[in-house]
């Protein structure tokens, strides 16, 4: 399907793994149509066929007939591949994740950002998805920080300082949407390097560049700057909007980041959101450390005080910094007076699913599905949707390897991408008992820590045996790795 016709425009955009990318595009095609297409301003007859690429949503079947692609299945296959690769990379170092991240998003607002191959323009598309990304980022990394930098007229400008409030960044970004001049990778990296060098050593330093231009116009040697970033352990990633360019690839390879080029809008969104979950932490990239934090209590209702963040008098609500007693409106934040990081225990809990991910479900083989001797469950265990589609041959089902319950496609995706619990395992007390015992005995044999103490400690904190149990697992792995 990739061989037909008018390819010349898109040829340069494909990177070496073009086929896989192409699959991704097909999978999203339907979604795009659903929200009314992205060429809203144009009538159907004004749109060029080359831009719409309608032939890509067709597929030739065995008898040579053209059929619309089953986008749902493809989408799901692609999701499972991503899940598997994520899981396999995380099993070896489960607890080691860069949970405290300091990320600068560099947005290229050079002349190239006005190009209209993304509708209505690259710049608008980038801004739209950057907003989604910022919100998703803070949802997944509540203790992290983002800063925004723009490149315009060959100069890099800091739009927002590192901060933890998504609203603040989104507002600043939306107010500054115009583009002109050249792009300069070196200026942007120099600026960001200056800022990121000041952050505490336990933080993971990252730069995410959304690059529209096909060139960089630098005042000096960009290679030196790249080496400087590498030395400062700044992980640089680039999402390109035009073609792959060498300097970006080199930058990402040197600093340990990832370089991807978007084919279209939905692909861009997908590539961008891949940067939201915390990357596996590389031990030498950030020093383990204890961070002092405050757990403020909610101020009593009806008390009037002036908040530090908005400098307004407010009645009730808000939180009081335990060190300097200043009032802040939202958590997590940094106290505006004494600089103490203020969080609440749910913010810490929000990150635990990164540390204890649930196993991917296995696809139930079709041989088993068609075997009349196996009586398979008729309903999805999660949502009670029927798993038997007499007319539909693609009655996909996934099974949890631990509790052996069967789930439908949608539950499989929901469970792994949002819920982070297996409903089957959670509905079975027995599944937990043996797991816990096995860790207990292995742990006792190791005699690394006083198990009783740790148990009590964890139980006291969140009252959590499961946490202790999984922690044992992690400790065990960690010990084997280090000893």
């Amino acid at each position: 399907m990739s061989g037909i016709g008018i390819e010349r425009r898109f040829e340069p955009r494909k990177t070496n793994n073009g086929d896989e990318r192409r699959l991704a595009v097909d999978g999203e095609e339907e979604e795009e149509d659903d929200d009314g297409g992205n060429g809203k301003g144009l009538e159907a007859w004004e749109r060029a066929y080359a831009d719409e690429r309608s032939w890509e949503s067709l597929q030739e079947d065995e008898s040579g007939l053209l059929r619309p692609i089953d986008s749902k299945t493809l989408h799901h296959a692609q999701y499972r591949r991503r899940l598997r690769s994520l899981y396999s990379s995380s099993t070896t170092s489960r607890i080691q994740k860069g949970l405290i991240r300091y990320l600068y998003i560099v947005i290229d607002l050079s002349r190239a950002a006005a190009d209209m191959d993304f509708r209505p323009s690259r710049m608008v598309v980038v801004a739209k998805h950057a907003e989604v990304f910022i919100r998703e980022f803070f949802d997944q990394n509540p203790l992290s920080h983002i800063g925004l930098v723009t490149i315009k007229d060959g100069v890099a400008q800091c739009l927002t300082d590192l901060g933890g409030s998504p609203e603040y960044h989104v507002k600043a970004l939306m107010g500054k949407l115009e583009c002109s001049g050249d792009s300069s990778l070196q200026n942007a990296l120099d600026l960001v390097h200056g800022y990121l060098n000041q952050i505490p050593s336990y933080g993971h330093r990252e730069v995410l560049i959304l690059y529209s231009a096909l060139s960089t116009c630098d005042p000096g040697d960009v290679m030196e700057t790249i080496q400087k970033c590498k030395k400062s352990k700044i992980r640089c990633s680039v999402v390109g909007l035009s073609a792959e360019i060498y300097i970006c690839k080199h930058l990402c390879e040197e600093t340990g980041g990832s370089y991807t080029v978007a084919l279209d809008e939905s692909h861009f969104k997908e590539l961008l959101l891949e940067h939201a979950p915390p990357p596996p932490a590389i031990a030498e990239f950030a020093v383990a450390n204890l961070i002092k934090m405050g757990f403020p209590q909610r101020a009593a209702e009806g008390v009037v005080s002036i908040c530090v963040c908005h400098k307004e008098a407010k009645v009730g609500g808000g939180y009081t910094c335990p060190r300097c007693k200043a009032r802040v409106c939202e958590l997590p934040t940094e106290c505006g007076i004494c600089g103490l990081t203020l969080v609440s225990s749910p913010h810490l809990a929000r990150s635990y699913h990164h540390l204890f991910p649930i196993t991917p479900f296995d696809e139930v083989p079709s041989s088993l599905l068609n075997n009349p001797q196996h009586r398979l469950p008729r309903f999805c265990f999660g949502c009670r949707q029927s798993l038997l589609h007499p007319g539909n041959k693609s009655s996909f089902r996934a099974a949890c390897p631990k509790c052996n319950q069967h789930f439908c496609i949608d539950c499989d995706i929901y469970i792994h991408e949002s819920l982070h619990n297996c409903p089957g395992c959670e509905s079975l007390r027995h599944s937990k008992t043996p797991r816990f015992e096995s860790h207990g005995t292995i742990f006792a044999a190791l005699e690394v820590l006083n198990m009783q103490d740790l148990k009590r400690g964890v139980v006291s904190h969140m009252g959590c045996w499961a946490l202790a149990c999984t922690v044992f697992d992690s400790v065990l792995k960690f010990k084997i790795l280090t000893d």
């Binding site: 607890i95 505490p200 050593s201 961070i291 934090m293 469970i415 139980v459 499961a466």
Partner: protein
């Protein structure tokens, strides 16, 4: 669900996911003194409540999930039973709800008890709230997928058992997922003590947390506080959350602290500085945090 004309769905149509705690240790044994309400009486209140929800709006939907000690399962879905008994007369619907729900509940309780035979737990054990919450959220996602017009879902936990500490991570995961899909979790605690998990769940998701003082009047509590749809809630003065304590306690002495140290690798909490993290084994340098804001450039005021 699909057979109903979609334009009839207005913003006051509700989908109520009721999570029913069927923990036998709560209702029988040594604990009968703490709850003055026996199980049959409790069920009468609940059934009347479910009927009143269905009477409030003909499109309202009720799904009941039993939260057992060893398992969780769906025991009633008003949408599926409506389809099967479409020909039944109007006044035949109420008994059908009751009989169907009660027979499924009985099956469930027997099965749940059978599963627990091999190990005999002492005292009151917790029920699997994390399981039934996860099931309810999966069901709600299916309703969301069914199209742009669907009833407004909410979850009501009728919980009596104490919190199961081993479920902490799973319950928090479920709470955050509910928060993302904007599904409120209401809690009505009928046990002896408050539930810290449900307090957090209702607070984070914007639901109502209530611990009735007089369990005998359960139906009145249910119908006045939990029967109203999400739209009408804006106009009511429902019970406000009182003092949800979000402070953490340290891993080392289980003291509740308002300032402490967090391991940057695994986010464990300690009350004083340690050389090594007892949870993940990381070795620490000197404490940071005091200095973090001073060696960083001072933030410009947000305007």
């Amino acid at each position: 669900m699909a057979s109903i004309p979609s334009k009839l769905y207005s913003d006051d149509v509700s989908l109520l996911m009721l999570l029913l705690d069927t923990n036998p240790f709560l209702w029988t044994g040594a604990n009968t003194t703490t709850t003055s309400l026996p199980f049959p009486g409790f069920l009468t209140h609940v059934l009347s409540f479910l009927n009143s929800i269905l009477l409030l709006n003909q499109l309202n939907q009720v799904v009941v999930i039993a939260t057992g000690v060893n398992s969780c399962d769906y025991i009633y879905d008003s949408s599926s039973s409506l389809q099967k008994t479409a020909d039944s007369s109007e006044n035949g619907r109420m008994p059908i709800l009751c009989s169907r729900l009660l027979s499924k509940l009985e099956e469930f309780v027997i099965e749940d008890e059978r599963l627990s035979k091999d190990d005999s737990p002492e005292g009151i054990v917790s029920s699997l709230l994390s399981g039934s919450l996860s099931l309810a959220l999966c069901y709600i996602q299916r309703v969301f997928r069914s199209g742009p017009l669907h009833p407004q879902p909410r979850i009501l936990c009728l919980q009596g058992s104490p919190d199961g500490p081993e479920q902490y991570v799973a319950i928090m995961n479920a709470i955050f997922s509910a928060q993302r899909s904007m599904v409120p979790i209401d809690s009505c605690v009928i046990g002896a003590q408050h539930s810290a998990f449900l307090q957090q769940a209702s607070y984070i998701t914007g639901g109502v947390y209530l611990k009735p003082q007089l369990p005998d009047g359960l139906f009145q509590y249910l119908s006045t506080v939990f029967a109203t749809d999400l739209l009408s809630r804006n106009f009511l003065r429902l019970p406000k959350p009182v003092g949800v304590d979000f402070r953490a306690s340290c891993f080392c002495h289980k003291k509740t602290i308002d300032m402490g140290y967090i391991c940057s690798v695994c986010l464990s909490i300690f009350c004083k500085h340690h050389k090594k993290c007892s949870t993940c084994g990381s070795v620490f340098g000197q404490a940071l945090g005091d200095t973090s804001s001073t060696d960083r450039k001072r933030k410009t005021p947000e305007t």
